[in-house]
């Protein structure tokens, strides 16, 4: 069965390594912070200028001057630092953030990503996403495998305006974990109970499937 949001977040968290500095986008990526594997320590970077994002505040801790990039109230973890937007993006663009996890409208088999506008319909703006995909050492996209009409979001070539080119390393969807390399999606894992055939049918871009595809552990 397709994973729910919490399950996708859990699978994302399995990608975290001890000592990683990680930037988590709004939505599912942010949920992954709740599932950091036991025995490892990671630091979360929020691009509005906070390294070492802590838990959400209690009512007493709420402070309008303490927010994350999603404009949510947060706290600072022990060992946190707070700085300007220029410093924050120097960090991101200079390749100092180990991992970025973000959502997308579309990803293609060249590792391109589209996530910030649908011409004529919706303009969110790119915020920090273009900087993150250009700068982080490792980039994971989380999204549903297909849109609500059943159309694949894993394409041969993105149709929407791009956020970045040749930058996505890994995709974690409600159906599968895939690697992007050499101009193709490589199926690594499938959601428990989801067949390879379903994944094949919902992947528009070139997909490489090995003889056996293990189920995700979530």
């Amino acid at each position: 069965m397709a994973l729910n949001r919490e399950q996708i977040a859990k699978r994302v968290a399995q990608e975290f390594c001890d000592g990683d500095y990680i930037n988590l986008g709004i939505g599912i990526p942010t949920l992954a912070a709740n599932y950091v594997p036991k025995g490892i320590e990671v630091m979360l970077q929020s691009e509005n200028g906070l390294l070492g994002m802590g838990a959400y505040p209690t009512e007493e801790q709420v402070d309008a001057d303490m927010i994350n990039a999603g404009k949510e109230t947060v706290t600072a973890a022990t060992g946190a630092s707070i700085f300007s937007s220029a410093e924050s993006f120097a960090m991101i663009r200079g390749g100092h953030v180990d991992l970025t996890v973000l959502g997308a409208f579309e990803v293609d088999s060249q590792g391109n990503i589209a996530s910030w506008m649908i011409p004529g319909k919706l303009i969110k703006g790119m915020g920090g996403a273009m900087d993150l995909v250009a700068g982080a050492r490792n980039i994971i996209v989380t999204m549903t495998h297909a849109d609500k009409h059943g159309n694949s979001k894993l394409l041969e070539a993105c149709t929407l305006p791009l956020t970045g080119v040749n930058c996505i390393n890994r995709i974690i969807t409600d159906l599968a974990v895939l690697e992007v390399k050499d101009g193709a999606f490589h199926l690594l894992e499938r959601a428990p109970g989801v067949s390879v055939e379903e994944i094949v049918s919902k992947t528009a871009g070139k997909l490489i499937v090995k003889e056996t595809t293990p189920e995700m552990q979530v």
């Binding site: 009512e59 790119m126 915020g127 900087d131 700068g135 791009l162």
Partner: protein
Amino acid sequence: MAGFNKVVHSYAEAMAGLENNMTIIAGGFGLCGIPEGLIAQIKTMGTTGLTVVSNNCGVDGFGLGLLLEQKQIKKMISSYVGENALFEQQLLNGELEVELTPQGTLAEKMRAGGAGIPAFYTATGYGTPVSEGKEVREFNGRPYIMEESITGDFAIVKAWKADRYGNCVYRHTAQNFNPMAATAGKITVLEVEELVEPGELSPSQIHTPGIYVDRVIVGQFEKRIERKVLSSSL
């Protein structure tokens, strides 16, 4: 000895000299760390044709959103439109010119403007609509685009504590774009929560040295919260 006393006592004085069609660089991220009183003063003045450089444009009815409502803004240079219905609507209608700029590029453009760097190269935006019309150049085998710096006629900045020299510190994540904005205005105006005596701020801990600041005003802040999320809400 008035040379370094930059404190002014009215918002009219604080924004004196602002004219139609000027460019204003504004600190703040969402509604966090925004110069609330200075924005209100611009609304009061009714100045129009403004170009505003700010990561966001407030929300409907608060922050820079107030100036959108009054159609005082001709052009926004921002990274994010989402969650601001009027902004998105004016943009889609073509009533408002918008130069969408990646957040890191925007921060760096302000810093560069303040630091005498007219342009720099960045990988951000390469191969996307942001790179259209911009020079592409390879360094060590990777393509980068050239981005030009931004300066403003005015910079409006929100700080926590400042002294009469304009030395100031920002509070928590209300720092955000404020330090860069402070460097990039021909006239930089600081709206602060608290005026302190010179020497109270430790020299090594000052976020923005007073040399960048022209005027300081003590303001009252509502500090509206966009998304109050509590640990129990999870």
